[in-house]
């Protein structure tokens, strides 16, 4: 155990790293899925930012940074998403986590990444590394089938979140959930029947106007968000080897005004992967509502138990989406993962400095395998 080697991964070591992950979690992630997640992102480099700890020929620890471009009023810049934090239980207590991070922070500084960010239930470990915990994700939920409740509670248990322990509380949850389904259905049908001149079209390949929409969005709402150009959408959505989210666009006179991406997860729950609008016609709330209705109807017809989306902070667009979602039958819960944010030295000395509420965040922030 004394000759532990900590370094960046070599391409030929990816099968071993993937096997390590599958072994620890009991999953069946394929090498193709590993490649997609860590090696095929839009950052132009030969070196995958994936740290490993090796004991002899065995991988006993992993930590990855996935380079992600963001956009703010000062332009486009690079950040990194923290992913694949994993140490063999037999090697815990040796600060391997810190050492892998130290290596990756160095790489991030070298490349001028402004932020490293992620979502985690393990707050303590990240705090020690200098991450801030500026907020939490919360859930917007549109209930569709009663069976959804069991799935959602199972997920909460898995994520070690608070679940009702007493029988009475459990029953009250069930009752509330049962009542919420027809209520949400009613709200949806009232809003869905309203006509307007926004045209909704299925998007089957990355829209050329994606980059323009992102720029317009930042110009309109300010703050910072992921720069979703065609290349990014191709990588995260259309080439996704797990689930290629369905994408719909809102158009007026053939101009792309906004989009929503949604998918049915392996657990049978629908996920709102992304939503973004920037209309010059002053009708963003209406467009957001139409896109959300489309996402609900389409995921419901796919057999979804419920549709979940994120609401995270006080970014004006986040608030707009939450408001529109509530009007069509979504419910809002304060349950989610902690956001962790680390500002690098490069970030601190640059022009892309932001508070947490500046970030417009959806599941397109590479959370899980959905987008």
């Amino acid at each position: 155990m004394n000759n532990l080697e900590i370094r960046l991964i070599q391409p030929e070591e990816s099968p071993a790293a993937n096997d390590f992950y599958n072994g620890i979690y009991g999953k069946k992630r394929s090498l193709e899925q590993w490649q997609w997640e860590f090696a095929e992102n839009t950052y132009d480099t030969d070196q995958i930012l994936y740290a490993i700890v090796k004991d002899g020929s065995r991988i006993v620890g992993t930590q990855a940074f996935i380079p992600i471009q963001m956009i703010d009023p000062n332009g486009i810049f690079w950040t990194a998403k923290s992913e694949e934090t994993l140490v063999d239980p037999n090697y815990r207590g040796q600060k391997l986590f810190d050492k892998m991070y130290s290596l990756l922070f160095e790489e991030a500084e070298k490349r001028g990444f402004a932020y490293v960010w992620g979502f985690t239930p393990a707050e303590k470990a990240f705090k020690k590394l200098g991450f801030e915990m500026p907020g939490k994700t919360s859930q917007m939920l549109f209930p569709m089938q009663y069976r959804a409740l069991d799935k959602l509670m199972a997920k909460d248990r898995e994520a070690e979140r608070d679940v009702p322990k007493s029988m009475l509380k459990h029953l009250s949850y069930k009752l509330a959930f049962r009542i919420s389904i027809p209520l949400s259905g009613l709200k949806l049908s009232m809003k869905a029947s309203r006509k307007n001149d926004i045209e909704i079209r299925t998007i089957d390949s990355p829209p050329q106007a994606a980059d323009d929409l992102c720029r317009r969005f930042i110009k309109k709402y300010g703050g910072v968000t992921i720069y979703r150009d065609g290349e990014y959408l191709k990588w995260r959505i259309f080439d996704n080897p797990y689930v290629k989210a369905n994408m719909v666009g809102a158009f007026h006179d053939n101009t792309l005004l906004g989009w929503a991406a949604f998918s049915l997860g392996d657990d049978g729950v629908g996920y709102l992967v992304d939503i973004l609008t920037a209309s010059d016609l002053g009708n963003d709330p209406e467009i957001v509502q139409r896109l959300l209705i489309e996402a609900v109807i389409r995921t419901r017809d796919m057999g979804a138990l419920a549709l979940r989306g994120w609401s995270v902070n006080n970014h004006p667009f986040d608030k707009l989406v939450l408001n529109a979602a509530r009007k069509i039958g979504f419910w809002h819960f304060d349950k989610g993962h902690t956001v962790v944010l680390y500002e690098t030295k490069a970030g601190k000395s640059g022009v892309h400095r932001h508070t947490f509420d500046d970030f417009q965040i959806t599941r397109i922030y590479t959370e899980g395998i959905m987008g």
Partner: protein
């Protein structure tokens, strides 16, 4: 047994489900069809398929042999050649091959004759039983009692043949590894659009009757049917028409696509229930890449003129030529149907399956040209036999359905082939059938996880008719 025909079907199968290297191996190999008595005296570098031994239609002496990370199920062994120099591979107890000192190879079982019998519908020909719809159904097959309906005999025979061809191309003995020669398994998804609106007379009448049927047997009335009747009265497309859109969006998530077989023509209990308007409306929701085909109406069985009229009507409605189809209720007669379908302009059919059990009716997971006994050659039509029907799978295997489906698909990934399956829009997502909820989603996830390729019947047809 027509060796030339069989070899052509084998080549087609290899073209679809194996690599180019495998096709070259088959083409380069010296493969002969001969009488068993002659075969055992041959001393040349070749593979010989005995054509004259009749093992009957009831399987005998079944045994399993490990092969390429799966197990082959063999039956009706051939006698070990009683000439000097012949030995059994891999062993005498469970042989795959007999091979002599000159590298002459003979299969150790009558597998190719069994495959031929299944491709040419020997069970249908020799056994008289038919169900009330005139079908030779799974309970009549002798293979059912031995649990052999789910054995793709033809696919296993081709996999064995490739192992032998590999040996003929240089290896010392045929081994059980053909890993590098197999392409990813194929899944061929299709949907029979029997009902597109749940408010038609027959669907509602059946629901109404089922409210009272249980009480006539001393059971509780099925009052929940009132809910479904009311629901579909208010929202006719819910759980039917809307499910077509839902299925497409779900398939899209995994990069898959499918064929929708449309039922038009005469109405009635077994006939078309929604008329042409529903089809005209739904066609706008079926994107490019997805196929539409003809679901031959119940009353077109053995009636060419009615089939042609139905096809003409559908083509006019869709504004395109239809080349693929499946019979409603899987009604099919091996002596007449292929002729009638061919005459109607169908190029590939997916009717040949069982409604009572899942499995490979022709012992084949893939696509082949049926054999015209009268003409002594292949029909000018391809058949992709249906292996799995949605409710049949769940009726048969219950909670174990997906695990079972996965094991069948994994077997195909080791021997090459296609899983042809049908899932009706009305069973995809319909709370009226709670046991079916989520099944199609799990099937698609299994296809993704087994890295299956998705080819529709029309895709297979295109590959097979685009000859180099």
């Amino acid at each position: 047994m027509n060796g030339e025909y069989l070899l052509q079907q084998i080549e087609n199968h290899v073209r679809l489900f194996f690599t180019d290297a495998a096709l070259s191996l088959i083409k380069a190999a010296d493969i002969r069809f001969a009488h068993y008595a002659d075969a055992i005296d041959i001393k040349e570098y070749c593979l010989i398929i005995p054509i004259d031994i009749d093992s009957g239609i009831a399987p005998q002496n079944i045994y399993k042999v490990p092969f390429n990370d799966t197990q082959l199920t063999l039956w009706s062994p051939l006698p070990r050649p009683d000439r000097p120099g012949w030995r059994a591979i891999p062993n005498d107890n469970h042989p795959l091959w007999y091979i002599n000192d000159c590298q002459t190879i003979i299969p150790a079982t009558n597998i190719f004759k069994i495959a031929w019998d299944l491709l040419t519908f020997r069970e249908d020909s020799e056994l008289p039983w038919r169900d009330k719809h005139g079908r030779f159904n799974s309970p009549f097959s002798p293979r059912l009692d031995f649990g052999l309906l789910e054995i793709p005999v033809f696919n296993e025979a081709v996999a064995l043949m490739l192992a032998a061809c590999k040996c003929l191309s240089g290896a010392a003995i045929p081994d059980d590894n053909i890993g590098g020669l197999i392409a990813a398994p194929v899944v061929n998804l299709s949907h029979d659009c029997d009902v597109l609106y749940g408010n038609d007379f027959w669907t509602q009448a059946a629901r109404f009757a089922r409210i009272f049927i249980p009480s006539s047997h001393g059971l509780l009335s099925r009052l929940s049917n009132i809910r479904w009747m009311a629901g579909n009265t208010l929202h006719p497309g819910r759980y039917y028409f809307n499910n077509v859109i839902g299925m497409i969006n779900l398939e899209k998530q995994y990069g898959f696509k499918s064929t929708f077989y449309m039922l038009n023509g005469s109405g009635g209990r077994y006939g078309s229930r929604n008329g042409l308007d529903a089809i005209i409306k739904i066609k706008d929701f079926i994107p490019d890449g997805w196929e539409t085909g003809l679901h031959y109406n119940y009353n077109t069985y053995n009636k060419s003129d009615k089939l042609k009229a139905q096809k003409g009507e559908l083509q006019t409605a869709l504004g395109r030529l239809i080349t693929s189809g499946r019979a409603h209720y899987l009604r099919f007669d091996h002596t007449t149907s292929f002729d009638r379908w061919t005459q109607a302009g169908i190029k590939i059919d997916e009717s040949v399956g069982y409604s009572k059990h899942i499995g490979y009716r022709c012992g084949l997971a893939g696509c082949f040209q049926p054999y015209d006994n009268k003409a002594g050659k292949a029909y000018d039509i391809f058949e992709a036999p249906l292996a799995i029907m949605d409710t049949t799978l769940v009726d048969q295997y219950g909670d174990d359905s997906i695990r079972h489906f996965e094991s069948m698909l994994k077997h195909l990934s080791c021997i090459g082939g296609a899983m042809n399956l049908v899932f009706h829009p009305g069973t995809f997502f319909n709370p009226e059938m709670p046991r079916m909820l989520g099944i199609y989603h799990k099937i698609l996830m299994t296809c993704r996880d087994t890295k299956s390729r998705c080819l529709t019947a029309d895709d297979m047809l295109k590959i097979l008719t685009k000859r180099g």
